[in-house]
């Protein structure tokens, strides 16, 4: 049976279910207990699991990140709550020099089963240090897995996979959509890593979109449909591993792609996906792959400026339309 719940509830359910299932799972972060985080995503968990397993920390991101690694190496399965994705910069050393490399450096003897839950997304008028989408940075580091759920369904299913994974996993939630409702099955399920979701089928152009941009691309697809252009929307769901195959298969059909991610465009996620498409679907492409990301500027506070920095359905549709028509012109 399927009911509608919010992304926030989906995350909460995933954690509660996994904590019931496996008592080694613990939660650690700032204001995760009574306050249930500023986004109220974790409300109720401390009441069920107690302060031994839902652990409020001081404001010391590197510290509790490091501790989670040590706890993970010795038998626990910590879920680290990082209040804003922008604070990733504070934990990079522990995450990338320690957690990501421990299994390899120990020749496979030590492991670090932990989940770093954080978020992404601008347009909340939160300024340059609370609005970044930093998934490209962690995706670059071997040893980390990276998941980007775009719906309540995937928020739950990917998080459950992450918690059961024996490796360090970074999962980015879209903070703008915590309150959005969507259908989520009642029963137990997981979403495996490395399986892209074809969110919408189409024939003329492929829109590859992550996280917050999936919904935006679906809206772009509707705009395109009104113009008789049929867009396929693909959500890779995990960046590491990346389900390249599903993307390339789509390209064989559509021959055109727009890749959209809310991180900065320059040296960002779209570069990886676009260059894989350009390489692996080279002989199928009828137009250059278009990349769209957050504008390459620190996120401005002013609403008049901030809204300009994030891809919109209109802009995506315009780019898709352009390469579609451009191709026609070229083919004639």
């Amino acid at each position: 049976m399927t009911r509608e719940i919010t992304h926030s509830q989906a995350v909460n359910e995933a954690i509660a279910e996994e904590m019931r299932r496996d008592e080694r799972v613990i939660l650690i972060g700032e204001d995760v207990a009574e306050a249930g985080t500023p986004f109220k995503v974790l409300s109720g968990l401390v009441e069920e699991f107690g302060t031994d397993r839902v652990i409020d920390t001081p404001i010391a991101e590197p510290g509790f990140m490091g501790m989670a690694i040590g706890a993970a190496m010795t038998g626990m399965r910590p879920i680290v709550d990082l209040m804003f994705g922008d604070f990733l910069f504070l934990v990079m050393d522990q995450l990338c020099n320690q957690a990501a490399k421990t299994h390899y450096m120990s020749g496979g003897k030590l492991k670090v089963p932990l989940v770093l839950r954080t978020n992404l997304g601008a347009t909340r008028r939160s300024g340059a240090q609370h609005s970044q989408s930093l998934q490209a940075l962690v995706a670059h580091i071997p040893g980390l897995k990276v998941a980007l759920p775009s719906s309540a369904h995937d928020a739950k299913g990917l998080l459950k996979s992450a918690i059961r994974d024996d490796n360090p996993v970074v999962i980015f939630e879209d903070k703008l959509s915590y309150q959005d409702k969507a259908p989520v099955p009642e029963g137990e399920y997981i979403v495996p890593f490395g399986e892209a979701n074809v969110v919408r089928e189409g024939n003329d152009v492929t829109l590859v979109a992550t996280s917050s941009m999936v919904q935006v691309c679906c809206e772009a697809a509707s705009l395109l449909e009104a113009n008789d252009i049929s867009a396929e929307v693909i959500d890779p769901r995990t960046l590491v591993p990346l389900d390249e195959r599903t993307i390339i298969e789509s390209l064989k059909k559509t021959s055109r792609a727009v890749v959209v991610d809310e991180g900065h465009r320059n040296f960002g996620v779209t570069a990886e996906i676009a260059s894989r498409i350009s390489e692996k679907a080279f002989y199928h492409l009828d137009a250059p792959v278009v990349r769209m990301g957050a504008m390459d500027v620190p996120v401005p506070f002013s609403p008049a400026l901030e809204d300009l920095t994030v891809p919109t359905p209109q802009a995506i549709a315009a780019n898709a339309g352009r390469i579609f028509r451009g191709d026609l012109l070229h083919a004639i």
Partner: protein, 339 residues
């Protein structure tokens, strides 16, 4: 904001007015939030005014401060104007940062405010670096680094305290202990005495009532003048309280602190009310004069709000300006098509 003699009605009244200006500023900001006219959230300084004013009164324009997410008080106390502040909070072009910073990044270069910071504890390095500049240039200015009790959990502070102590930098670390970081009481997140953490590096540390603007100012004058002479660094823990929630949206907060506790602080330890009472008791001002100050400040704040609401947003062409010094627009620059 000069460091003239203290036993001086003019200075007392200026300090009183500055505290009132902060309180009134915050009330207006809260109204803007409640009426959905302000983008985003903001963290109000109300209740802590004696800290910012008592300290900044001991500083000159050439002295510098770094501020926090709860930064309006520091900004006002260091000399900022209402209009440019409200414009910033509303994301307008005439804001201190052309609307690009917002409440959590407000800075006021001309008065030595190096900026608020949305990374808790993130400015301790910047402040200590500003003090390094002062030492290297030998001009005798001092930097005050404001931060909350919660920020004492961040490792960066210990790193820079060590260097400040080793190199005797002219900096004062001012920890506003308002009893909470977000929704958590300080006792739950801080082991031991906070002053001991500075003392461990050989830094002279003080703990005082942050609600008494005269005591705060007296200590600040003393430490600032000693820091100018190379006797720093110093640490001060100021016991204070935020009258409102963590941010303007933090309304139902009984799960982490009681209404009684709040009422008690508001009633008995309001720095403005208490200082006003003292001014009256010393016959420095009478009740009417204080009311007049309040009204006048309120009128100017309202005018500034009205101005800011009407002011224009930055032009869309600004969006990729000011990314790089010397580069008009960042986007073509990044792509290598302009220099």
């Amino acid at each position: 904001m000069n460091s003239g003699r203290k036993n001086n009605a003019e200075q007392y009244l200026r300090m009183y007015r500055q505290m009132v200006r902060i309180r009134v500023f915050e009330d207006q900001a809260n109204q803007l939030y409640l009426s959905a006219k302000m983008p985003g959230l903001t963290h109000m300084y109300s209740g802590q005014e004696a800290v910012a004013v008592g300290i900044c009164e001991a500083l000159t324009n050439e002295d510098r401060i770094t501020s926090t997410h709860r930064g309006h008080g520091h900004c006002v106390a260091k000399g900022a104007e209402f209009k440019a502040m409200f414009c910033e909070l509303l994301g307008k072009e005439e804001g201190y940062c052309r609307g690009k910073g917002g409440s959590m990044h407000i800075a006021d270069q001309n008065h030595g405010n190096l900026g608020a910071n949305a990374i808790v504890g993130g400015s301790t390095g910047i402040a200590t670096g500003a003090a390094l500049t002062s030492k290297l240039l030998g001009k005798g200015n001092v930097t005050v680094c404001f931060f909350g009790d919660g920020a004492t959990a961040q490792g960066l502070w210990y790193e820079v305290m060590n260097m400040a102590a080793l190199w005797k930098l002219p900096i004062i670390y001012a920890c506003e202990n308002n009893g909470y970081s977000e929704y958590t009481a300080t006792a739950e997140i801080a082991a031991g005495a906070i002053t001991a953490r500075a003392e461990a590096f050989g830094i002279e540390a003080h703990r005082i009532d942050g609600q008494d603007v005269l005591k705060v100012n007296e200590l600040a004058e003393n430490l600032v003048s000693r820091a100018r002479k190379g006797e720093g660094p110093f640490f001060v823990e100021l016991e204070t309280y935020r009258f409102s929630g963590h941010h303007v949206g933090d309304i139902n907060r009984e799960y982490y602190r009681s209404k009684d506790e709040e009422a008690n602080w508001r009633l008995n330890r309001d720095p403005i009310k208490n200082f006003g009472d003292w001014l009256e008791s010393q016959s420095i001002a009478d009740a009417d004069e204080l009311v007049a100050i309040g009204n006048e400040v309120k009128a100017s704040a309202e005018a500034a709000v009205a101005y800011a609401l009407d002011a224009k947003f930055p032009d869309s062409s600004e969006v990729d300006m000011h990314v790089y010094v010397g580069v008009d627009h960042a986007l073509p620059y990044i792509d290598g098509s302009s220099k």
